[in-house]
Each structure stands twice: as C-alpha cells, then as structure tokens.
C-alpha cells in the first residue's frame, strides 16, 4: 500500500512540476500588477527552443562505420547538456515575454489582448519552427533521454529513491523556486516593492519606484519560468519528443491555479499537486475497477480538473485575505500622471 502511495506521489511530481513552474513565474508577474495570458505560448516557444538546443548539443556516437561513413549512430545526453538546453528554454521564454512587456509597458497595450496574441503567436511559431524550418523536422527528431540526477542504483532507496534521486533536475528546482519566490515576496525589500507596484502603481511611482522597470523584470522572470515549464513537458516529462501543441492547455491551467489560490504560493503548490495526484490516480483506479461504467470513467478523467478548483475555492474564501493578496492594479496599464 505504501509502495502504491509512493508510486502515485512520484508520478504526480512529473505531472505537477510544469504547472508549478509556470504558475510560480506568473504569480510574480501578477503580483507586480501585470496579467500575462501568454503563458501557454511562452511554454510552447520555450519548450521547442529547449528541445532544439538539446538536439544540437547531444553527443552522437557512430555505432556502425564502414570506410569512414557512418551507417548507424546512437546519441546520449549528459546533465551539462541538459542544463544548457534548459538555459536556452528560459532565455527564449524570457525573450518572448519581453515582446509582451514591451507592448504592454512601453506602448501601454491592453494586457489581455497582448497576452492572447502571445499565446496565438507561440502556438503558430512553434508549429512552424518545429516543422522543417531549420532543415530538420523536429517532430521526427530523436533525442536521447535525460539521465536522472543521481546514480541509477540510488533509485532503489526506499521513499527518497523514487521521490528524489530518480527525479528530474527540475522537480527539486520547482520546490526551491517556490520557497525562493515566497521568501522574496514576503520577506525582502525588493519583493515589497514588487507588491507595492502591483497594489497601487500611482502611489509607488509617487514614492519614487520605477514601476515600468519592475514590471519588465517580473514579466521576463515569468517568461523564463514558462520556458522551463515548457522544456520540462517536452524533454523530461516522458521522453524527449516534440509534438505540435504539446502543452495541451497547461499554461491556462497554471493561470487558473493562481486565481483560485488567491495569489498565495503555498496554495499554488497545493493546487498543482492535487491536480498531479488525482491525475496520477486515474489510470490506477481504472485498472483496479476495470468494470466501471463509461460515465464514471469519463468523470474520473475530468476529476483532476475539478478537484483542485473545488478545494482551493473552499479554502480561499476569506475576503480579508483575498484583499490582502490580490494585486489591486492587476491588468491596468500604467501611465505616469503629469
């Protein structure tokens, strides 16, 4: 029984991590008063960029060579190459976010319109570039699986093995980032300034804080985190594989999670993991109750999308806490008053 629980937890980590990464980034963006609906688009662009980078960086070894011509080859990826691909994904995600930032902060474009534009752009661009644009059809490209963080034998250690040692680098990273973002927002002066900008940009400006600069930085951080979330889905969640629209709405789910978690990092974590656990439970329940009705089976499929929302709504109903945590300037274009 306990083995089953650990199995489910390990599987839920794979499912929750991209949600958590994207949501942590967007949380900081929204706390600064900006709503970027382009999370899905940034995940696709960043994910594809990471995949292309890993394809180019991976080591090829010829396994069948005759007269200096290679007839068959094998590829491998080490942690350093994987890290390089992640950096590319984050940088490209941040660059895509910078376009949004430039439109909304410099030209004071509507946040909603610019964000939706970024989502459409991200989907279209990643479809084109991931096709045959660079002379390689990335939908057919083969990239070796990323090795686990620790020696393979460590994976057999009880509890810690499957939950930590066998996991991908980004899983512990998402926890570190969650704590870091919580600490930054609630305990540091810079985080206080970010919250002040999101709460009342006119007062923040009057007190001498650079509203637009702060927002550009949070937007780019959000983009980098979305890029990493995309890279995790493309490279690490199963095996490295690029498919069009591979994020299937996870960016939107991340946006919804922040709202239902009322901008509190701990609750974003809770929401992401409830989603992961219920999703991981689904095939196992279906296997156990193999003779369940079709309706019930459909309901089980929908459950991962229902349970986190219901739980978060039920625990986040305190209006004072909502007012405390919701950024009051969210989505408003800032124009300094003369």
């Amino acid at each position: 029984m306990s083995e089953l629980i650990i199995q489910i937890l390990a599987a839920s980590m794979l499912l929750a991590t991209p949600l958590l990464l994207a949501a942590i980034g967007e949380l900081v963006v929204e706390k600064s008063g900006v709503i970027n609906l382009g999370v899905e688009g940034m995940m696709l662009i960043g994910g594809l960029a990471g995949f292309i980078a890993l394809y180019q960086l991976q080591t090829s070894i010829c396994t069948l060579e005759l007269d200096g011509v290679c007839f068959a080859s094998d590829t491998s990826v080490n942690q350093l190459q994987y890290l390089g691909a992640l950096v590319v994904a984050a940088v490209v995600g941040a660059a895509a976010a910078a376009v949004f930032g430039f439109l909304t902060q410099h030209f004071r474009a509507n946040h909603i319109a610019a964000g939706l534009g970024l989502t459409v752009l991200g989907a279209g661009l990643s479809n084109s570039l991931g096709g045959n644009f660079f002379g390689v059809d990335y939908t057919a490209a083969i990239v070796a699986k990323v090795p686990a963080l620790f020696p393979e034998s460590w994976g057999d250690v009880p509890v810690l093995g499957p939950l930590l040692f066998a996991q991908n680098l980004l899983v512990p990273f998402s926890f570190v980032m969650l704590v870091a973002v919580w600490y930054f927002l609630s305990q540091t002066r810079a985080g206080l300034v970010v919250r002040a900008v999101g709460e009342n940009h006119h007062s923040a400006y009057a007190l001498g804080y650079p509203v637009i600069l702060v927002r550009m930085l949070t937007i780019m951080f959000g983009g980098a985190m979305a890029g990493l979330a995309g890279a995790f889905i493309v490279i690490a969640q199963i095996a490295p594989k690029w498919t069009e629209g591979i994020t299937v709405g996870k960016g939107w789910l991340a946006l919804a999670l922040i709202l239902f978690a009322t901008w509190r990092p701990g609750r974003v974590l809770l929401g992401a993991y409830i989603f992961g656990i219920v999703l991981a439970l689904e095939p196992r329940l279906k296997a156990i109750f193999s003779n369940m009705s079709l309706e019930l089976s459909y309901f089980l499929t929908a459950l991962p999308y229902i349970v986190p929302v219901v739980v978060l709504v039920l625990i986040s109903r305190n209006p004072v806490m909502i007012r405390r945590n919701a950024p009051a300037s969210l989505g408003q274009a800032f124009e300094p008053r003369s």
Binding site: R189, L192, V193, R195, A196, E199, N200, H202, S203, A204, A206, L207, G208, Y209, V320, R323, R324, N325, A326, P327, A328
Partner: protein
C-alpha cells in the same frame, strides 16, 4: 536669522494664470503657520514649490539662512521637509508597517516595527504596524502618512487640509499631536479652509487671494468674519435689475437626506437663477447627482419638478418633464471623450427628441442637430465628426451647455458651468444662462466661483458639509456672512448655530 524657512517673492505662472505673484512666506521653528485662501488662491502651487514638485519662475527659497533650491521631492525630503498630502499615497492591500517602510527606503524589520510603535505612542498617533490599511478609517490612514513623515525627522511639516477627512474627535486628537510637534521646535504649515480650526490651533496665518499675499495675522486676534473677508475680499455686489416676472414653482426639494447631502428646503421658480455656493468637496457632486437623478432620492416626494414627484425617477424620465442637467466634469461625465460630437449629442437626446426612426437612429437628424448646437452656441470645432476630447475646454463647455439649452428646458441644473474655461467662453455661457432665466425657466447653478454667483444668482444658498442652508436674496449676503457660512465648522453645534443665527 530668517527663521526655519523663508520664501521670498516666489512667482509661478501657468498658461493664462499667475498662480503665485511675488509671495513672501516664512515659518519659524516652533510655530504652526496657517496658509489660508479660496480654491485657486495659490496655496497648492506654493506647497508644490516647497515639496519639489514644481520649480518657481522667480524668487528665493532660504532654508536656515542659506539660499537653496528644491529640485525634486527627494531634495525636499533631504532638506528636512515632510509632507502630509490631502490624498493619501497609500497601498490599501498592505500592512501599516509595509506602507511606512515603502515611504522610507529602509529595510522593514523588527526594529522598524518598534520604531513605528515608539513614534506612534510618543505623538499620540496609535497605530498597529500589522493592521491592513483597507481596514482602517480615514483618520488612521492619515496617521500612517504622518508617522511616515515623522520617521524622516522633518524640521518642517506641511499638512494639506488634514482635517477634511476627519471626524471632529479625530481632528482634536490631531491638534494635540500638532501642538506636541510644535513644542519640540518643529515648524508646521497648516493648510485649511476651516477658520475655527485655524483660530484655535495656529500661531500665525498668511492669507492668499488671487496668487498674492493679502495679509498675515495672528488668527486668534481676528474674528472668523474678518478672516473670511480677507480670504474672499469685499466684492461690489452688482445691483441686478429687478425681475419683471417670477413664475411658478418649477423645482422644489424638501426634507431630503440622501446621506451625502441634506436639503431641508429649496425652491426655484421660473424666471429666476438660484446659486449654490460652497468650498469644493462639501457635497456639490452629491447634490448634483440627487437633483439630476443619477442617484435616486430615498423618497419620490422629496424632489418635485412642476409639482410632480421625481425623487425616484432617473435622469431620462426627469428630462421628459422638461428638466435638463449639465454636470461638472466635461470629459467623462458630460461627454464621452472618444465619441464624436454627433454621438455625444445623441447620448443626452435619445429620449427627449425625435432622433429615432422606426427604432433606428436617425443619423442625419442627429448630425443636423449637432451642427445647430455648434452654430447657435459658438462652438469652434473642426467638424462634428471630430472627437469631443479634441475641443478646447471652453468650446466643449459651450457645446455641453448648448446641447441642453437648445431644448429650452423649463428647469436647468448646472454644476460649475464655467470651471476651467477661458474668460470669453465663461461670459458667453453666463449670458446664455441669464437669457434662459429671463425667458421664464428655473435655473439652479452650483458653483465655487463667488464672482460668478454674485453675477448670476437672484438668490443664494450655501452648501457646507453636505448641508444646504436657507436661500436668501443675493443682495442680503455679504462676503463675511457668505464666508462664514461656507467655511464654518458645521459639525460643531456652536458654529452651526452661529451660521443659522446670521442666516436668520
């Protein structure tokens, strides 16, 4: 020794207006110096110079015997000048401590919380650093601003109308704090309209009128009437030719209390103009809203147009009875800035005139009507398809007034008809209002411009703290009685009864 601060011959001009004309003003350590004046007298401009928000065109600023310049808000703070703004620069969703920390540029930590507590206890400004700002009253919010200013240890503290949002009890507590600060040797500048407060609290008063210093006095030695006269000036009351015919009762209000505004009795007859005087922020917006139907009165019978109860009717239904309304805010209230003049014409006419044909808008008719308005009321424009926001203030004002006047309303309520409008347009608009009344309509003008009211109104009443006074013939008012009625502290029973006695 010139004292703590000395402003010498400060001059500042804005396009079309000399906001400060060679103003001399000084503050000694250990005194509370009141700065008095009507709206537009130049108080805010002088304070903007001190807080570094604007640079004067001429004059000298001497700070502790050294000539200086104040280039930015930061420079003002660095000199030792603290400012408590009338409109708080606070973050509602954050705690008191966080708000203070953001204003100071220090790390907010445990010692800071202790400093806030120590400061707030020392000066009788009770504050809990962990309280969330949106849960606090206006008085508590002001304490945050004051503590934030005091933590910077200013030698000069400027308070811009600090009591306008306070209850009398909160104001008393504030005065105790201010006396404590004075006794520590700090200089304080107290900006206010409320003469009773100034007489009780301040050591000296400088009175501005039309950008110039008209007097410096010890307020306790002067009566409220004398100070009011200095603020407002003795105005020649123009003798108006007696009205030939005052018609039937057209607009009457009685026993109305909407919470924001209280009108015991108000009657406007056909052929006369009734003026409502008052300092800004005393309920003019609420008065206009309840008369126009933008907010509904609690009872239908408290407002009557031509004898019909309209208290529960909206603006469109009141218009159908022959009433018309012109709000104060040209852009955003009276007119949609990004709409064309044609669209804006349609908006206030859709119910009263035949602008619809078979359920569709008759655009030709609307366009012709827009052009008629512009022609008849001298609105200079680049075409009626142009956006309302592209018109100058004066021309747009003529347009929104003309849009109502062209319908020959039998009742007109107009709020600040010439606010921020050039002289030529203002005269034009006033002449049109007089002509409307002479043609037999009832006109109610809400204005802060006393010259305008003396020029236009047959009878005058005063709005103070949301309460409308009795109406008396304009000739029966003097600058003193009007000044006292406008600036008296209506919340204190003393002042209220004084005002009533004088009005009786």
């Amino acid at each position: 020794m010139t004292g703590l601060l000395s402003l010498q011959s400060i001059t500042k001009a804005y396009p079309g207006v000399l906001a400060n004309d060679a103003v001399d003003f000084d503050v000694q350590p250990g005194e509370i110096h009141a700065l008095l004046g009507e709206n537009g007298a130049g108080k805010s401009t002088l304070m903007k110079v001190l807080s570094g928000q604007t640079k004067p065109d001429g004059g000298r600023i001497v700070w502790k015997d050294d000539e200086t310049s104040i280039a930015s808000p930061q420079a003002s703070k660095a000199l030792g000048i603290g400012m408590v703004h009338q409109h708080f620069a606070l973050f509602d969703g954050m705690s008191v401590g966080e708000n203070v920390a953001l204003g100071l540029g220090h790390e907010f930590d445990a010692t800071q919380r202790d400093r806030i507590r120590a400061m707030s206890e020392k000066y009788g400004l009770p504050l809990n650093p962990d309280a969330l700002v949106f849960t606090l009253s206006a008085g508590e919010k002001q304490r945050i601003e004051i503590v934030r200013a005091l933590l910077g240890d200013p030698q000069l503290l400027i308070l811009d109308e600090p009591t306008s949002v306070l209850t009398p009890q909160e104001a008393d507590a504030l005065f105790a704090t201010l006396r404590l600060l004075r006794d520590e040797g700090r200089g304080l500048v107290f900006i206010s309209h409320k003469l009773n407060e100034v007489r009780a609290l301040c050591d000296r008063a400088t009175i501005l009128r039309g950008g110039k210093v008209v007097a410096t006095c010890v307020p306790a030695e002067k009566s409220a009437e004398e100070i009011a006269e200095m603020m407002i000036g003795t105005r020649p009351v123009p003798t108006r030719k007696a009205k030939q015919k005052i018609g039937d009762l057209a607009l009457s209000v009685s026993g109305l209390n909407s919470g924001d505004v209280r009108i015991p009795a108000l009657e406007v007859r056909g052929g006369e103009i009734v003026g409502v005087a008052g300092v800004a922020g005393n309920g003019q917006e609420a008065l206009y809203a309840v008369l126009s139907g933008e907010t509904l009165a609690p009872d239908a019978g408290t407002i009557n147009v031509h004898g019909q109860p309209v208290g529960r009717l909206g603006p469109g239904e009141r218009r159908l009875l022959g009433a018309a309304f012109v709000p104060e805010e040209r852009l955003g209230h009276a007119a949609v800035p990004d709409f064309s003049l044609i669209d804006n014409t349609l908006l206030s006419n859709i119910q009263t005139e035949g602008f619809q044909r078979r359920g569709l808008v008759d655009w030709n008719r609307t366009r012709e009507h827009s052009e008629e308005i512009c022609e008849a009321y001298d609105v200079r424009h680049a075409g009626v398809t142009g956006r309302a926001s592209s018109l100058s203030g004066g021309n747009l004002q003529k347009f929104i007034v003309g849009r109502e006047l062209i319908k020959n309303p039998s009742v007109l309520v107009v709020n600040q008809p010439t606010w921020g409008v050039d002289m030529g347009s203002a005269t034009n608009i006033r002449d049109r209002l007089k002509a409307l009344a002479e043609a037999g309509s009832a006109v109610l003008v809400i204005s802060q411009d006393l010259d305008e009211l003396f020029d236009l109104a047959d009878r005058l009443c005063v709005l103070n703290h949301g309460a409308l006074s009795d109406t008396r013939p304009t000739a029966d008012w003097t600058a003193e009685t009007l000044g006292v009625a406008m600036t008296g502290d209506a919340d204190s029973p003393d002042a209220a009864s004084q005002t009533e006695e004088r009005a009786a």
